[in-house]
């Protein structure tokens, strides 16, 4: 018979529900089965005997996890918690060095050093918050946060910036107070404040109108860009499929297969999921697009790729534009081979699509034809790149796509 022995005693955890401050005494009492009042008395005696009680309590507060630690650790990401601990630890070590210098007499002045420390702390907080967005990895889009998580992030960002600003202001006031310049500064601040209030009252209607106008202009620009993206996507997918359905209407099985494939792609796009079988790098995506065009139009497409990058939003735009250029070359290139040359580096993506067909006059393309204007030129422009189309009747066509990253 196998028996499993287990320790009936609870593990040492801070008991926040039964504690007065952080639940250290209550946790120790529960762990060893004694009265919490005795533990608290021990801390009080140790504090009165030289202050060790406070230090010991703080240490245990830091080291002993709370009773509901698993739930708490689910709420706070381990990386964020580690960063906070490293920052606090480094700050305290720096503070201990400053205090040690002060105790040894190697010191400038309280009026200078402490405001500088406060300014540095506040500055670090503000700087860290202001650069938080830039540190997010651009290649992998973050999953959409839950509303509660997003609200918590906003509260943390606002409180961090608020604490930083408060620290810097407190440092300034402390410095002015210590140097006896606070009353003079107060007069200046009051005067500036009064002038600002007067100016704001006079200019308020214009400022409000300007802000509203800028906001509505920005919203309109975003709507316009989104509309263009949707139009380009529909042109490249649904319209192309409908055109092929018309051409192959004599073969019901192929038409049904085309419709099924288009339906799957469209459903994935509407749900924000990657399309079935979507490639993960620029080179693979170009190969897939070339195979697709070759299959649908029966024209050979040769792809040569030098270097490769992960398929982020910019690379996806380049693939979309290249695919449209390949489709145009297959449709209007009089059956000539379509050559695709791609050169990818972390700094720059460069793709050429060439055919030896009859060519065309780019200036003569009607404005309502979205293939060139939206799916190639507009798409590249919206993602910060450019598309150059070189063609003339009788000399083939070359489309160059460039995206600086």
């Amino acid at each position: 018979m196998t028996s499993i022995a287990s320790d009936a005693r609870p593990r040492l955890r801070r008991d926040r529900s039964g504690g007065w401050i952080a639940g250290v005494s209550a946790g120790i009492a529960r762990r060893y089965g004694i009265d919490a009042a005795l533990v608290r008395l021990g801390f009080v005696i140790a504090t009165a005997a030289g202050g060790a009680g406070i230090a010991l309590y703080l240490l245990l507060w830091l080291v002993v996890p709370a009773g509901d630690a698993p739930a708490a650790s689910r709420r706070v990401p381990a990386g964020a918690r580690a960063s906070v601990e490293v920052a606090l630890g480094s700050g305290l070590l720096l503070l201990s060095v400053l205090l040690a210098f002060r105790a040894l007499g190697i010191w400038f002045s309280d009026a200078l050093v402490w405001p500088l420390v406060l300014i540095a702390t506040g500055g670090v907080l503000i700087w860290r918050q202001s650069t938080a967005g830039a540190r997010e990895p651009a290649e992998q889009p973050a999953p959409k946060p839950e509303p509660v998580e997003a609200a918590t992030k906003t509260v943390v960002a606002v409180s961090r910036t608020g604490v930083g600003i408060a620290l810097v202001i407190a440092a300034g006031i402390a410095f002015l107070q210590a140097t006896g310049a606070l009353s003079a500064a107060r007069d200046v601040v009051l005067a500036v404040f009064a002038v600002l209030v007067v100016v704001c009252v006079i200019l308020a209607p214009w400022i409000i109108r300007l802000v509203r106008s800028l906001a509505s202009e920005r919203a309109e620009r975003i709507r316009s860009q989104e509309r263009a993206e949707v139009a380009a996507h529909l042109h490249d997918s649904v319209l192309q499929t409908l055109a092929m359905v018309q051409r192959r209407s004599s073969d019901p099985r192929e038409v049904a297969a085309l419709a099924r494939r288009q339906e799957r792609e469209l459903r994935a796009w509407l749900a924000g999921r990657p399309a079935p079988g979507q490639a993960e790098s620029l080179g693979a995506a170009l190969e897939a697009a070339a195979a697709d065009v070759e299959e649908h139009h029966g024209v050979p497409v040769e792809v040569v790729a030098v270097g490769d990058v992960p398929l982020d939003a910019g690379a996806e735009a380049v693939v979309g534009a290249a695919r449209e250029a390949m489709t145009n070359a297959a449709k209007f290139g009089a059956g000539s081979t379509v050559d695709v040359f791609a050169e990818a580096s972390p700094e720059r993506l460069n793709v050429f699509v060439r055919d030896r067909g009859p060519g065309f006059d780019p200036a003569a393309v009607p404005q309502d034809r979205r293939g060139v204007s939206e799916s190639i030129v507009g798409r590249m422009r919206r993602h910060g790149g450019r598309a150059t189309i070189s063609s003339a009747p009788g000399s083939g066509t070359e489309v160059e796509l460039v995206l600086e990253r």
């Binding site: 580690a82 700050g91 305290l92 070590l93 201990s96 205090l99």
Partner: protein, 59 residues
């Protein structure tokens, strides 16, 4: 049996307690005078070291 890795935060906390205890012992024997000006940086350094160790071990 695999070698057990030392827990860095516990190690730092233990060392910090030992240092504080030594300082208190020296104060008791009259070798040093453990005033607030001396104790404050030591307490800050101890707590800072424990936090730093905890943060680094979590990364």
């Amino acid at each position: 049996m695999p070698a057990r890795r030392p827990d860095l935060p516990s190690l730092a906390a233990g060392l910090a307690v030992i240092v504080i205890a030594l300082l208190m012992l020296l104060d008791e024997r009259g070798s040093i005078e453990l005033s607030f000006a001396v104790f404050a940086p030591v307490a800050c350094a101890a707590i800072g070291a424990v936090l730093l160790a905890a943060g680094l071990s979590r990364r």
